[in-house]
């Protein structure tokens, strides 16, 4: 009895002491502190690729990689609140044409629609501090040869002439990587049904995706779409 009480007290005290000295990494704070390094001219419009490149270049674990990638919007380039919840979505895999389901952290509801319609996913491998990992990333086609490249996006971030600028952004099979699809895997039928019937990814996106480009006022408006279509 006395021994158990003592053990309990020891564990209790150790846990409290540990709590007082342990310090979780603050990914959000780190992105804010490095904002001017991610966006040297402060223009973060459609800046998902800049965030992705900044993160993939870090010497971090896979967990860190995933956590960082929850904190920006691949469509708009906005920072996302650390407590934000993702949308469950699907996107087409470039290689197979199959639907890949997963979680997408967004800054606004229309971004979920835009990423499903205008991006594709690719499987990517990368060696982190804790080993080689495989995951799905959102990509868009090389936008650098577009005649209507949106003027509110800093083309110099992404492009070196008509090529993707690999010094500043990450490309995969000549596609521009704009963000991470979290927990991506081949969709099951009920996953697709869930997305299609969801009030945002289903009904709202159907409405948005059938709206002419010139009438889009919400989300990033037409900036990302012009870049990605």
């Amino acid at each position: 009895m006395k021994g158990n009480l003592l053990k309990f007290l020891v564990i209790f005290f150790v846990l409290i002491q540990f709590d007082s000295i342990s310090e979780e990494k603050n990914y959000h704070k780190e992105l804010i502190a490095d904002w001017s390094r991610i966006f040297p001219d402060q223009n973060r419009n459609a800046g998902g690729p800049m965030f992705f490149k900044y993160i993939i270049d870090k010497e971090i674990t896979y967990k860190d990689f995933k956590e960082f990638n929850k904190l920006y919007c691949a469509v708009s380039g906005s920072l996302i609140d650390p407590n934000a919840e993702p949308d469950f979505i699907y996107a087409k895999e470039s290689k197979t044409g199959e639907k890949i389901c997963g979680s997408y952290y967004k800054c606004c509801i229309p971004c979920s629609c835009d990423i499903m319609k205008y991006s594709e996913v690719e499987k990517m491998k990368h060696k982190f501090l804790d080993g080689l990992k495989e995951f799905y990333v959102f990509t868009i086609r090389n936008p650098c040869n577009k005649k209507d490249f949106p003027n509110r996006v800093n083309k110099n971030y992404f492009c070196d002439g008509e090529n993707i600028n690999d010094d500043q952004v990450y490309s995969l099979n000549d596609k521009l990587v704009i963000g991470l699809l979290h927990e991506g895997e081949n969709c099951k039928k009920n996953d697709i049904d869930f997305v299609n019937s969801h009030q945002v990814t289903g009904r709202f996106c159907e409405l948005r995706n059938n709206t002419p480009l010139e009438n889009l006022k919400t989300g990033m408006g037409d900036i990302f779409i012009k870049l990605a279509r």
Binding site: V10, F13, A33, S36
Partner: protein, 480 residues
């Protein structure tokens, strides 16, 4: 059996001793607001500590926003307003920022009152630079020859900068929605030198500190809103912004209260900078970059205004007082290795206080700092005054550097050297938000501490070392 029980309780007591410091904090402050005579509700902002009547004693100078500016002097156990001349009181103007320094090299400090009657951009009334001449206050900006360069831009904080290290102070004016200004007397005339010194940038200026941050001269750190912070390296009296290079630009945060503090007790000044509803920073210099080492309790976003780094309880470790507006204040103790340990406040919490500024001084000359908090902005509130509840047996040492003109050497750095630490403090040139502390380095003394020496690094980078033979005194160090 008896022995077993004894051993058991001995273990419990040992574990309790380990844990108690983390979960129990006796009330840190004592509320001594009653010492302020005539303390009506008002809109107060910045506070400075200076000797306004040239009698060798410091006063708290409290600005009023459509209320009179005050000069609170400690007399017969009370803080009494001794300002009575209209040019000082200036009730018709809206004063928020204040700093004092000797701009004319007469050995006495002039007082810069920053007035702001609009949030941003052009304002109606200019600032004042108050000088005491034959017992009468006059505004140097009202002299005809000084009217060319009036500051007619909304602003916030001001700080004094001896940029050439020659005892000739200039005033950095942190403007909002217009260019920063830097006033100096040149050919007996007040001139804005900001263009020549690379300081005339337009930003949302909020807070400014100056001292030995990067060089042996007075550098400047300015915390800004809606734009990057400035870290202005002093290159022979001209400034170069290196905030990006040193990673303190914090471009998407909105700067507020800022202070220089020797966070690692290593004999150099680092930067504490609060961000309005953003992460508060504890920047320490390492390998030519500042690293933010604030822990999650310290950096937690709040409605921050003033930040003060000072040893309130004379234990030899600095506290950081974080004055929030319409949100509870916070207090941290900086332990070794830059560990911020929260001290739970009861007195001084001011959960419903509209804190707008605060300053420290040992105004009653008893070796313990007083903390005066000003309040207002969107609700008239009286001033509040606190003092740490401490064991009277604690010891202290106060160092007051005086420059070669006989004025407080604001921007100088004092370092206490002992068997336990190398602890630097700035002689405050302007800090917190809108405020300025007393021009004295105040040290509490640690347990078993001995072998005291003090190094004073003057604004020209030269150093003097003084051996300390006895404690519990204020030592005046004169620049040779």
């Amino acid at each position: 059996m008896k022995t077993e029980l004894y051993n058991f309780f001995k273990k419990i007591i040992f574990l309790s001793v380990l844990i108690i410091p983390n979960i129990v904090n006796a009330d840190f402050f004592e509320d001594i607001t009653a010492k302020i005579s005539d303390n009506p509700k008002r809109l107060s902002y910045g506070i400075s500590v200076a000797d306004i009547d040239q009698n060798g004693k410091y006063e708290f100078i409290v600005t009023g926003f459509g209320y009179p500016n005050l000069a609170l002097s400690y007399e017969n156990g009370k803080l009494i307003n001794i300002a009575n001349q209209n040019i000082f009181l200036d009730e018709s103007r809206k004063t928020i920022g204040v700093a004092a320094c000797d701009v004319d090299r007469d050995g006495y400090e002039e007082i810069y009152f920053l007035n702001t009657d609009t949030y941003s951009g052009t304002k109606k009334h200019s600032d004042r630079l108050i000088d005491l001449v034959e017992s009468k206050f006059l505004d140097m900006f009202e002299i005809k020859k000084n009217k060319e360069d009036l500051n007619l831009t909304a602003g916030r904080s001001v700080a004094c900068v001896d940029r050439k290290g020659d005892g000739k102070y200039g005033i950095y004016v942190s403007n909002y929605g217009g260019p920063t200004r830097f006033y100096e007397i040149e050919n007996k005339k007040i001139k804005d030198k900001s263009v020549n010194l690379n300081l005339d940038k337009v930003t949302g200026g909020r807070a400014v500190v100056s001292g030995h941050i990067l060089t042996d001269r007075s550098d400047i750190f300015a915390a800004n809103e809606r734009g990057a912070n400035f870290l202005l390296k002093n290159n022979n009296g001209v400034f170069e912004d290196l905030a990006f290079n040193y990673r303190v630009d914090d471009v998407i945060q909105n700067g507020r209260g800022t202070a220089l503090s020797d966070i690692l007790y290593r004999g150099r000044l680092d930067i504490i900078s609060g961000n309005w509803q953003g992460y508060h920073r504890a920047y320490v210099l390492k390998d030519n970059q500042f690293k933010d080492i604030g822990n999650s309790k310290f950096d937690k976003p709040s409605r921050i205004r003033t930040i003060i780094s000072a040893d309130f309880d004379n234990d030899g470790y600095d506290e950081v007082f974080m004055n929030n507006i319409a949100e509870p204040n916070k207090l941290f103790k900086i332990r070794e290795n830059g560990k911020f340990e929260e001290i739970k406040l009861e007195t001084g919490l001011e959960a419903d206080g509209y804190g707008t500024g605060a300053a420290v001084a040992d105004i009653d000359n008893d070796g313990i700092l007083e903390l005066l908090v000003s309040r207002g902005e969107s609700k008239e509130q009286p001033l509040t005054l606190y003092k740490a509840k401490i064991d009277k047996q604690t010891k202290y040492l106060r160092i007051k550097p005086i420059n070669k003109f006989g004025a407080p050497a604001r921007g100088a750095t004092v370092t206490l050297l002992s068997n336990q630490r190398k602890h630097s403090k700035t002689i405050d040139s302007g800090s917190g938000y809108l405020c300025q502390m007393e021009p004295v380095a105040h040290y509490g003394i640690r347990k078993n501490e001995k072998d005291f020496r003090v190094e004073v690094k003057w604004t020209n980078g030269s150093k003097d070392i003084i051996k300390i033979n006895s404690l519990n005194q204020t030592i005046i160090v004169n620049q040779k």
